[in-house]
């Protein structure tokens, strides 16, 4: 188990390095970060030279990257060009807000997806299963931004015009003057979280259903039935235990992916999170912010993958407990589906 995690870590480090370097190259390619400052007539040439010095702008790109990486690892992420605030502060604040959205989404989605996935697997081909399948197709095919607009159209505009009520808000985190009001916060969070949940629930419930079906079709479930184990216990004790392993892994990985999805939602709902910081910085060529942001996002994704691997290792005894009799344990991936035996011998 320890060796397993160590091996994964060993691959993760070069991946982070390569990814951040690519990002670094991309950022350098977007042009001269000081272009705005240079063209301002009031700028002192001395200031420009100092800035060039500070960001090593005249060095070759590899050297610049090494400098930046050194600073980044030590927690010195520089100062924003556009706000003059330390990048750490800007990102820290926004990260908390994004975490609020992503965390809520993950918790709610796990709950709903597990429920939907398990019920539709246990009652395969029932009306519920078909409805869940239909919903999944809807979720897979609906672009988030369009769904967000539809939600606004129905839940905000239509409600306001027909009933003159404002249940949900579409801008920011709080209404001005209501800061700290929990109810107001929830009213602001409902639509962005619902938008994010559309895809996560569609994907995860589908995943849980398929993994549950695979398990239910496996030989050891038949063994348990032949022992006389009641169906409810088979589902809870034998099937769920094995079907949850891949599910938890996918949730961990997808939490990293959600960070990419949250930028769209934050932009639409003007949510003061990481996505908003990123796009504002990108539009203003705010070089230190963009760099730190993308590097962090990459690290976060790699971390989520690592967590997924560790969880998998912890949950699956085939990895956690090494083999006693045979040689090195062959790591078995998700439970393989045994094809349904129609013409069994």
């Amino acid at each position: 188990m320890r060796g397993f995690v160590a091996r994964r870590l060993l691959v993760a480090i070069p991946v982070v390095l390569v990814a951040t370097f690519v990002v670094f190259l991309l950022v350098s390619a977007t042009g001269d970060p000081l272009a705005d400052i240079r063209t301002q007539p009031a700028t002192d040439p001395q200031t420009v030279r100092l800035l060039e010095e500070q960001y090593h702008l005249n060095d070759p790109v590899v050297e610049r990257y090494v400098h930046w990486l050194g600073d980044f690892v030590q927690g010195d992420w520089g100062t924003s060009f556009s706000t003059d605030r330390p990048v750490t502060d800007m990102i820290g604040e926004a990260a908390w807000n994004s975490f609020l959205l992503v965390g809520t989404t993950v918790v709610l989605s796990v709950f709903v997806a597990l429920l939907v996935g398990i019920v539709s697997a246990v009652r395969q081909r029932s009306a519920f299963d078909y409805a869940a399948t239909g919903f999944s197709y809807f979720g897979f095919s609906m672009p988030d931004f369009f769904f967000a607009l539809l939600l606004q159209l129905v839940l905000v505009v239509w409600l306001r015009e027909q009933f003159d009520v404002q249940l949900f808000y579409v801008q920011g985190k709080y209404t001005v003057g209501e800061e700290g009001n929990l109810v107001n916060l929830v009213q602001h969070m409902v639509l962005p979280v619902a938008t994010l949940m559309l895809t996560t629930v569609a994907a995860w419930s589908r995943y849980q259903r398929d993994s549950m079906l695979d398990v239910l079709r496996s030989d050891y479930i038949r063994t348990a039935r032949a022992k006389g184990v009641p169906r409810s216990r088979i589902v809870r004790h034998h099937a769920l235990r094995n079907a949850l392993i891949p599910f938890v892994t996918v949730v961990a990985i997808d939490t990293g992916v959600l960070l990419g999805g949250v930028v769209v939602v934050e932009r639409i709902f003007s949510w003061p999170g990481l996505g908003l910081v990123f796009f504002t910085a990108l539009e203003r060529s705010d070089y230190p912010v963009v760099l730190a942001w993308t590097a962090l996002a990459t690290v976060f994704v790699v971390l989520c993958n690592l967590v997924a691997d560790v969880i998998y290792g912890l949950l699956d005894p085939r990895i956690r407990v090494s083999r006693r009799s045979a040689g090195p344990s062959a790591v078995a991936p998700t439970p393989a589906a045994s094809p349904p035996e129609v013409a069994a011998s």
Partner: protein, 322 residues
């Protein structure tokens, strides 16, 4: 790379047709009669046939019908913000431009990009996947770990960053605007090859051990020849299914980017930027957002149906869905 969570399930789906996980045998139909049987199963798959019908209609509208509608850039300031009517099916926008025409032209751009991406990323995925599967060992481990993480990277911010570079000079190919249709196709292809690579790797791994591969190796065939002549034709099924799903994915990523303002730039219409044009006024002029949005949704849904139908047809051992 993936744009949204659904893509991890694209990964799941890729795995679910990954022959290695289904059984030790490659699920691809071998031989002509198998393909014919798969074709019959596909034609019986109701949602898939529905999807095909929708796609044919959509393609007809975006590539043929589009020549017979008013120009998408023709201004009629006197007719701004007209409701949908018999003369303007999808209404008109602020400048009196015909929205139906703009949706069709936008669709042409979005579909072209998506098809291009499916083609290119399949090539990239096949090369990487077959190398990993065929040579195995540390190369396989490295390539697949890399693919795993690549699939999970936050695609939208990185793409937005790349697009904001603007035009890059590619030497003999001349300058390419990364925010233009061609640049978009290239960028997305570089990002969406992951699921195909996985599938091809899985299929290659299991095929590598089969007798006909040994036989041709004994006859002195080169690795490249074995891969192109024996391995790839035998995992054609999973490749086609995945390429189909990449089309859906590419449409979603491109329209999202264009919606955010980091993709196709106006006045060139794309389904994504049509929506972002209209977002400020969507409360009053719903038709400007609803029609392009529906176009994306319906197209992607149809592609997903077709993809599932293809998978069920190729691998009948999986229970038929829907």
């Amino acid at each position: 790379m993936s744009m949204r969570v659904g893509d991890e399930s694209a990964r799941t789906r890729a795995e679910s047709i990954d022959p290695l996980l289904v059984s030790n045998e490659v699920a691809t139909p071998e031989g002509r009669s198998e393909w014919r049987r798969a074709g019959r199963r596909f034609r019986r798959h109701v949602p898939a046939m529905l999807g095909v019908a929708v796609l044919v209609l959509m393609a007809f509208a975006c590539f043929v019908l589009v020549r017979f509608v008013p120009s998408p850039t023709k201004l009629h300031l006197a007719h701004s913000y007209e409701h949908p009517s018999s003369s303007h099916w999808f209404g008109t926008d602020e400048l009196g431009r015909d929205s139906f025409s703009r949706v069709l032209h936008g669709g042409q751009i979005s579909l072209r990009i998506a098809l291009g991406v499916a083609l290119l990323s399949t090539v990239v995925g096949v090369v990487i996947g077959s190398m990993a599967g065929f040579y195995g060992g540390w190369l396989d481990g490295l390539l697949m770990r890399f693919t795993d993480l690549w699939i999970a990277l936050p695609a939208l911010p990185i793409l937005a960053l790349a697009v904001s570079i603007g035009t890059v000079d590619l030497g003999v190919f001349g300058g390419i605007d990364l925010g233009g249709p061609l640049g978009m196709t290239l960028l997305l292809s570089l990002l969406l090859w992951g699921s195909i690579a996985r599938v091809v790797r899985g299929a290659t791994l299991s095929l590598r051990e089969r007798e006909f591969v040994d036989a041709s190796r004994a006859m002195g065939a080169s690795n490249a020849r074995i891969i192109t002549r024996h391995v790839l034709p035998n995992c054609l099924g999973p490749i086609v299914v995945n390429a189909t799903l990449v089309v859906a994915e590419a449409i979603l990523v491109e329209t999202t980017l264009s919606f955010l303002g980091f993709g196709i730039q106006p006045p060139t219409p794309s389904w994504g930027n049509l929506l972002s044009d209209a977002i400020g006024t969507f409360e009053d002029y719903w038709w400007l957002t609803v029609f392009p949005g529906l176009a994306i949704f319906v197209t992607v849904l149809a592609i997903n149906f077709v993809g599932d139908g293809l998978r069920d047809a190729i691998d009948p051992r999986r229970p038929v869905r829907i």
